[in-house]
Symmetry: C2
Subunit: 352 residues, 2 copies
């Protein structure tokens, strides 16, 4: 594969979304989220799902002209109805609200209902960190993960992201699934005809399986991260997003196999904390320099250069991608090709 310049990928995504009746500003916002995620090398959450988005946009299960609306708010909180718009559009809007409110209130929580798949939670957490704040982003999802003792799915892979920036010692962007592994990785294994480790999946009897195809057929489910701990965190996320937003929970959320005309109604929650309110201006950057710098100096096991911060690998990939373009795995390139054909837009140079 030849490297894809980010600007060309972004232009392609915007063009695709505009052909699905998404407004130019919303198409740009969505393209920024998806292309940044791809630049991190997180291909399971970038443009790979664009084909699902376009299918639902055209069938109006995702509302191309949806406008997220603040239903209720106070100085430190807001609840938003996503109007079934693209998840990225609503999530960016919601995190901007949280950041603005935390600027003066010190902390703000914004809940979202009636949204859609929002991609990588880390993007929204990072939005706060880029403004000198701490950011947390969570979302519920279609139940696909078992709980200890279950023989069916109990909760979604409900992601959790946290980000914070130091002054000179780098940044952290933690973005984790509360499943033992991302569902996307099981799909990759299935696409590549490989088996998966036996602790990733349980079958419909509650027993371990190594067959990723069972997951695609909804006959196997992810295990939770660290057993009861991941289940507990996923339940907390379901409460903060689904229950607290007044939106859909668990099986109330649309499935990937549902007709594309059906709204999916994912729920999200975004938290921003402004350290300047707690510590005064220009203090937290140095505190995190001290913390991150000390961690880098911890003695390492043989063959390990230094202890990495969460997200450090992705930041290094991003630098490379900004300089030399993104090298996609073949399955994502196939998605790009299929979308170009589907919406009937000119084949971009990077696919020629």
């Amino acid at each position: 594969m030849k490297p894809v310049p980010i600007a060309e990928l972004r232009a392609f995504v915007i063009q695709v979304l505009e052909r699905c009746e998404v407004s130019r500003p919303d198409a740009e916002t969505t393209a920024d989220v998806l292309c940044t995620t791809d630049s991190w090398g997180v291909f399971t959450h970038g443009t790979k799902f664009l084909g699902d988005y376009t299918r639902r946009l055209r069938a109006k299960g995702v509302n191309p002209r949806g406008v997220p609306r603040i239903e209720n708010s106070g100085p430190a909180w807001a609840s938003i109805d996503g109007d079934c718009a693209l998840g990225m559009v609503t999530a960016v809007f919601a995190m901007k609200q949280a950041i603005a409110k935390a600027t003066t209130s010190g902390i703000a929580l914004v809940t979202v209902r009636n949204s859609y798949h929002f991609g990588a939670a880390g993007y929204y957490a990072w939005m706060a960190a880029a403004e000198g704040q701490f950011g947390i982003a969570v979302a519920n999802a279609i139940p696909s993960v078992s709980a200890p003792g279950s023989r069916g799915p109990v909760l979604g892979s409900n992601p959790f992201a946290f980000a914070a920036a130091s002054a000179h010692e780098g940044n952290m962007v933690l973005d984790i699934s509360t499943a033992s592994v991302a569902g996307g990785k099981v799909m990759v294994a299935a696409a590549e005809g490989k088996t998966v480790p036996s602790h990733w999946l349980v079958d419909s009897a509650g027993k371990p399986t190594t067959d990723p195809n069972l997951f695609l057929k909804l006959e196997a489910f992810l295990t939770p991260m660290a057993e009861h701990k991941g289940y507990g965190l996923a339940l907390m996320i379901e409460i903060l997003s689904g229950a607290l937003s007044g939106g859909a929970m668990r099986n109330g959320i649309g499935r990937f196999v549902d007709p594309p005309s059906k709204p999916s109604n994912y729920s999200h929650a975004f938290l921003a904390i402004n350290p300047a309110v707690f510590l005064g201006e220009n203090v937290i950057g140095g505190r995190l320099d001290e913390l991150f710098g000390a961690i880098r100096k911890v003695p390492t096991a043989s063959g390990v250069d230094h202890i990495m911060l969460p997200g450090e690998i992705e930041r290094a990939k991003q630098e490379k991608a900004l300089a030399a373009g993104i090298v996609f795995p073949p399955d994502v390139t196939e998605v790009h090709r299929a979308i170009a054909a589907e919406v009937g837009c000119p084949i971009p140079d990077f696919l020629k």
Copy 2:
């Protein structure tokens, strides 16, 4: 062992603390936290550490007359200096502040510096749930946990707790260490002369070990929960507690082996969310009935009665303890006996 009535245990703890110059109200607060934790069967975080507290109280490393003070605050936040008082005293004070502020602000975050070991994080999260809110409690601790690739400790076992109450379908109290296992469990294995699973500890070369005694000698360290995920969550907690409070971080925190006259300076953070502000009065209880009730009905694997909520086992133990007393493991009873001798108080009936 004969069961210990909770009221007798509570009276004993109060008497012990008063003999260490702790005020009656602060002794009662601390006794409530420790005895409730024991009633949950969480013996690693209850009265078992009381001997460490009394030793430090008498040597003034923990300030028996310490009074936590709000240093700065706004409608949705506060930062507290713990004045080196008992961790339970300061943590209860801080969570009460968070709950009061969240009642009107919808959400509130309270940071704490210059505190001490606060016992079970779940107690403080539960304080918010008991008031119809959601509670989160976190704390940093002495580095004892490795990070992926390290051959030394990087962060503490930094606990995370979340609690929420439904109207009729029970409650959840998630209280997890971000280590693969609680340090207390390694100490129990060492005391019982047992080995531990090889994924619990790494030695000072960064290699797995099954010898719990190396952990006591600071020659082995806990592994993080779910590898990079637990490390990332622990780092987030270090930021929210240590960095954001302006207090001690990592090795700035006192060690168990330090002289008892030295302040320990743990940092904490407490978050409260009032769902009534987001959803209106009396809505969240029913939302959580729907969520928890549905989870109870998920089909279970052979031999499993139902999917449990986080903390359900502990709540069942508490009901039993309230009715019939607490049956302690021998090592905790030994601690009780040693403390009675140390502070020179009458031997309580339950130790006779």
